[in-house]
Symmetry: none
Amino acid sequence: MHNAKPLPSYLVQRYQGWKATTYAENKTWYRRLAEEGQRPRAMVISCCDSRVHVTSIFGADQGEFFIHRNIANLVPPYEPDGDHHGTSAAVEYAVTALKVAHIVVMGHSGCGGVEGCHDMCSGKAPELEEKSSFVGRWMDILRPGYEKVKDIADESERKRALEKQAVLTSLENLMSFPFVASAVETGDLSVHGVWNDIGDGSLEHYLPTEDGFKVV
Amino acid sequence: MHNAKPLPSYLVQRYQGWKATTYAENKTWYRRLAEEGQRPRAMVISCCDSRVHVTSIFGADQGEFFIHRNIANLVPPYEPDGDHHGTSAAVEYAVTALKVAHIVVMGHSGCGGVEGCHDMCSGKAPELEEKSSFVGRWMDILRPGYEKVKDIADESERKRALEKQAVLTSLENLMSFPFVASAVETGDLSVHGVWNDIGDGSLEHYLPTEDGFKVV
Amino acid sequence: MHNAKPLPSYLVQRYQGWKATTYAENKTWYRRLAEEGQRPRAMVISCCDSRVHVTSIFGADQGEFFIHRNIANLVPPYEPDGDHHGTSAAVEYAVTALKVAHIVVMGHSGCGGVEGCHDMCSGKAPELEEKSSFVGRWMDILRPGYEKVKDIADESERKRALEKQAVLTSLENLMSFPFVASAVETGDLSVHGVWNDIGDGSLEHYLPTEDGFKVV
Amino acid sequence: MHNAKPLPSYLVQRYQGWKATTYAENKTWYRRLAEEGQRPRAMVISCCDSRVHVTSIFGADQGEFFIHRNIANLVPPYEPDGDHHGTSAAVEYAVTALKVAHIVVMGHSGCGGVEGCHDMCSGKAPELEEKSSFVGRWMDILRPGYEKVKDIADESERKRALEKQAVLTSLENLMSFPFVASAVETGDLSVHGVWNDIGDGSLEHYLPTEDGFKVV
């Protein structure tokens, strides 16, 4: 790999700051985690977006949460076709090997991936329709969600509704995995959907009894 | 989604702690990020493992890092076949839409996904060879890396070498994406490989001049 | 105390979560408790084990339960020899100063202290026999209980029986305290023994009429 | 044990409430904790007082905290004399068997045990001087602390200072245990002192650099 570069110095500086403080404060715990392995209580599926504060929100930087982050926190449907499926592999490992008790799917406001899906489905982003667009093909997962919200008149409301559909679509697709469905049925696993407003810091969770999201 | 449950109460408490402290201290900044969108300086690709401290290590919880986390921090080769490719979509979005300046691939010690690959390739985990194993098919990406380390006699040394191969394989596969290769060529993007020892907190980065990993 | 450190930051976050929620919701009550003093209805004696959910099980975080937690929920016999006796002091304060109406001794499954006693008494843990072993000398309290269960053939059944003997031994030792015996005699105090299965969440209480533990 | 009574029905009701909610919500996690054993990250030493919210404050009802509660959160000095020492046994088990990373000693406002010590040392509670007083003999541990605060003119200020001395005395006595001192020296263990105001919910931690308690 002749193209790789040394770590940029601003990251080296931050790393050294972490080593001298957080690591120093917690080293016994980190050593134990290294020796005894992880035992996460929950899996969190969230977006790659740099403004999503998943570890911070749940104090998650302590060996408790198995975290998968992808564009728009999407879970594709169950497709055991022998191809590479990174998200499905993460879900499989969390449920069958780590036996997590909860899966939390976490959406957020201002999601660029969801916005791309919105524009693609409403004809405003033809480049995302191209076969070679990885973002477009990934956001295809959310097309059925777009159908449910397309009649909302206000655009910003529509996009927000689509962000929540991304969470619901993932929850539904999760249930298409046989090992997820059976763990949910036996009560060994529960699934949860939340949506975070980045600007005002609020958090909403999906309540099936009300078929909607309510502030926590 | 009648199967979803409300957010577990222990997570609600932690969220409220974040809201009352970190959010309260940074709300002006979070509001600006919400209004103006993210502008991350780097993309980090790391493992889902609950013991990997990516945000903490790089002080990354502030809108600066676009973070993709999957099993064993792998990037698959470029395959624009129209299927769902979550990792490729994340890389495409980071490089072409967000125009990040750096991509850091971060491996770590004690990686369960890498260990699975090791066991599969050495014949000790036939269940991972099944077509329906998402973890097995995902770890296929690392098979060429196994070939390079399989003659190392000591098992724990061999696994550690394979963890580093996971980083190098991802760096190589990244270069197979035309938009990555061209951004690297023009100097708009640099790629970096690091490996974190969870127990002792050390960080090594790949130095092409020495064709090996050195402590930062 | 030059060796003490500031509170770890992950505990600070959790505390702030409590302050913003539970405290905020109950502050009038907490202020009254602070001004008027505690008036607990019962004393609970349980194990230090992190998996014992005493406050949670009895909704006990509201000023109602005076809680003593030690290794294996043991009460030593009455020994007014002028030495430091932490458990005896807690019982004395609960009964004579606070005049609690109930004392509940709560044992649990998988108790490490009881297992230590089992191993010590069966010759498998000679290090616990040393005079300097605080755990060994503390578990001496349960030696008479071991004599009653040692002939149970199945090891896991034997340990479970010993966990229940820990509850019964404590109930018996409680009656050796003159102020406990007299309060029980006048009907001002009742004592209760329960045992909690951590994994399945069941609770059994001791019924003297059946001389055994029955599920609640 | 012919004197024991069945569990009072108000406690049965609360237990059933917990079983139907908190247990049901967390049963997978509780089962895993039962099967795999506890792995607490910290030991907390706090008072038996019913108004001390230790589990609540730190979200501690989740298998993470090994909790010892006695009168006035005191740790006696190291005395390996072969007698029963419940607190010393708890500390020994936490440090040598569980290898906790932190010990947090937590004092609180309005502590009845500390008040008893105050009254005993200032001649106002001769009954606590009797050899047979378990509370008096337990509070002897805090006599050196009284000497340090006895000249504070205001009584309520003096008692509050004595509550903080109880935390500092425990921290000092902890260091007299060889296994604690050596774990602190190697950096495997850190000790922390905090004091909670029950009425206003504030929390102070001891900062050795300032030789005093500061609000968190």
